[in-house]
Amino acid sequence: MNWTRIASTAELQDDEPLPIVVGERRIALYRYNGEIYATDNVCTHAYSLLSDGFLEDGCIECPLHQARFDIRTGKVLCAPATQDIRTYPVRVDGDDILLAI
């Protein structure tokens, strides 16, 4: 896998998603229960950044129409979205957060 450094651990707060742009991809990073997760940042329903949304119980809720996704699996949990969101493997190396695309 091709690991890319995308952020430092100090930039990422609990409950506060962090938007990252990697090449042409928009990624949202999350910290939940001490673990770090990454998904696509654009909702699968309408154009909106999930990083502006509401993170609770390991789920991110889209700020536009309240579709929800599990940040661990990418599974869509409620309407109006019907498509899962892509997730990415993440690992921490010292103070660096690395993402595999």
Binding site: D52, F54, E61, L64, H65, Q66, A79, P80, T82
Partner: protein
């Protein structure tokens, strides 16, 4: 009453289709029939006034994936009109002469666009919007340079105006009220929205008294709309968006109780009508709300989903799911506007955000001594969502701090929760 062996749902829109799926999810194994007047599989209506009109390709709008009803043993029948409800024999009579028996019946019949007498449906160049066909017909009429007049400056009218502008039509909006969304917004919110619409190139006419609107030229289809105290407007396309008439024909014919205040089918907190075997959900239902102790009819996507699930539980004799805090959204003029809660008398509105900013992120919070009751958010759905717990629990914020955008909202919400615990 005995547990039902058969359930018929009349109406395959948001409420009806959600109820059907919820019935199976809640363990109902009997015969389940979903009757839709339209030929389409149940679809979402919010995109009809937006992406269906503007997007380069028509978006997918289905509520459930292909084959879902079949896989759930839901007998979805398309293009079928229910014409009578026989409560004595517990049968729904269909337009093709068939009769379908039920132990429980759900009326999720929605409604139709309210018609203006001078502009009957079916007139060339006159458009109403309720169905996918309506949206497709309007889409093909919205071409660059067409003169579009939208009658009605409510949520739908403004979305249509925004979409018509996006299709490079010239757009005029006529609204009888002196300001936009008068019933839902504080005056400053209406002023912000009016400025936003005008900036987008909309000709906005408020406080308009329509005299008449009729086709003056049948060969060109140009319509002339005459108003008090103003020159007539000519239009190539007229879109009428003056509200929804709930479809209660079956309920009235069957003698069910109708709410005189809003024309909806009167139901209790289980979505049960005056006949305990008949339920109603969605745009056509006027439901008793414990929070206010009164009945209300809501035309919203959230309400259709919630009442669909509530009616499913009610028909199975299960307790109703917790009522959500009313929430509504509209997308117009490149802004996402959300409303949480309902307007009430005696609210003080405090604004967070700079309305002059190009990329405005605003919240007007309607509160009583800091206790949030109603809010309008512009491009600030995530912030509004964070505040929902305060709405639900009735926890106060400090209005002065709320208005200060240098103090993060997250910390304010947490502090309010900690003060309460």
């Amino acid at each position: 009453m005995n547990p039902p062996a058969s359930i018929v749902i009349v109406g395959a829109g948001q409420a009806g289709s959600m109820a059907a799926v919820a019935l199976r999810a809640q363990g109902f194994e009997g015969r389940l029939t979903l009757l839709g007047r339209e030929i389409h599989a149940p679809y979402e209506r919010p995109p009809l006034s937006k992406d269906v009109l503007c997007a380069s390709e028509e978006p997918a709008t289905r509520i459930h994936p292909d084959g879902h009803y079949q896989s759930q043993a839901i007998d979805w029948q398309a293009g079928v009109d229910a014409i009578a409800l026989d409560r004595a024999s517990r049968e729904v009579e269909l337009s093709d002469g068939r009769r379908v028996g039920y132990d429980r019946c759900l009326l999720a019949t929605g409604g139709d666009a309210r018609e203006l007498p001078g502009l009957p449906r079916g007139t060339a160049a006159v458009h109403y919007l309720r169905t996918l066909e309506d949206a497709r017909r309007l889409r093909s009429a919205l071409t660059p340079g067409r003169r579009v007049v939208v009658i009605g400056g409510g949520f739908l009218g403004l979305e249509l105006a925004s979409s018509a502008r996006a299709r490079q039509a010239t757009v005029e909006v006529l609204e009888t009220a002196p300001r936009l969304l008068e019933r839902f917004m504080p005056p400053a919110g209406s002023a912000w929205l009016a400025a936003r619409a005008r900036q987008a190139g909309i000709g906005l006419h408020l406080g308009v008294r329509l005299q008449a609107a009729h086709a003056i030229d049948h060969t060109t289809g140009v319509l002339r709309i005459t108003r008090d105290d103003a020159p007539p407007l000519e239009a190539d396309v007229v879109v009428v968006a003056v509200g929804l008439a709930p479809d209660t024909r079956l309920a009235r014919q069957a003698g069910l109780e109708i709410d005189p205040s809003n024309g909806g089918i009167r139901v209790d907190e289980h979505c049960r009508s005056s006949d305990p075997a008949v339920f109603s959900a969605g745009d056509c239902a006027s439901q008793h709300r414990a929070a206010t102790g009164s009945h209300a009819r809501f035309e919203s996507w959230q309400n259709a989903n919630d009442q669909g699930r509530c009616a499913a539980a009610g028909m199975l004799g299960l307790p109703p799911p917790a009522a959500s805090y009313p929430w509504f959204w509209t997308d117009q003029f490149n802004s996402n506007i959300q409303m949480l809660g309902l307007p009430a008398t005696g609210l003080t509105y405090t604004l967070r955000g700079d309305p002059e900013a190009a990329e405005a992120r605003l919240i007007w919070l309607g509160h009583r001594q800091g206790v949030p009751i109603h809010a309008i958010a512009v491009n600030a759905g995530g912030d509004l969502r964070q505040m929902r717990s305060l709405f639900e629990a009735g926890l106060p914020l400090d209005p002065t701090a709320f208005a200060d955008t240098t103090i993060p909202l997250r910390g304010q919400v947490k502090a309010a929760q900690q003060r309460a615990s």
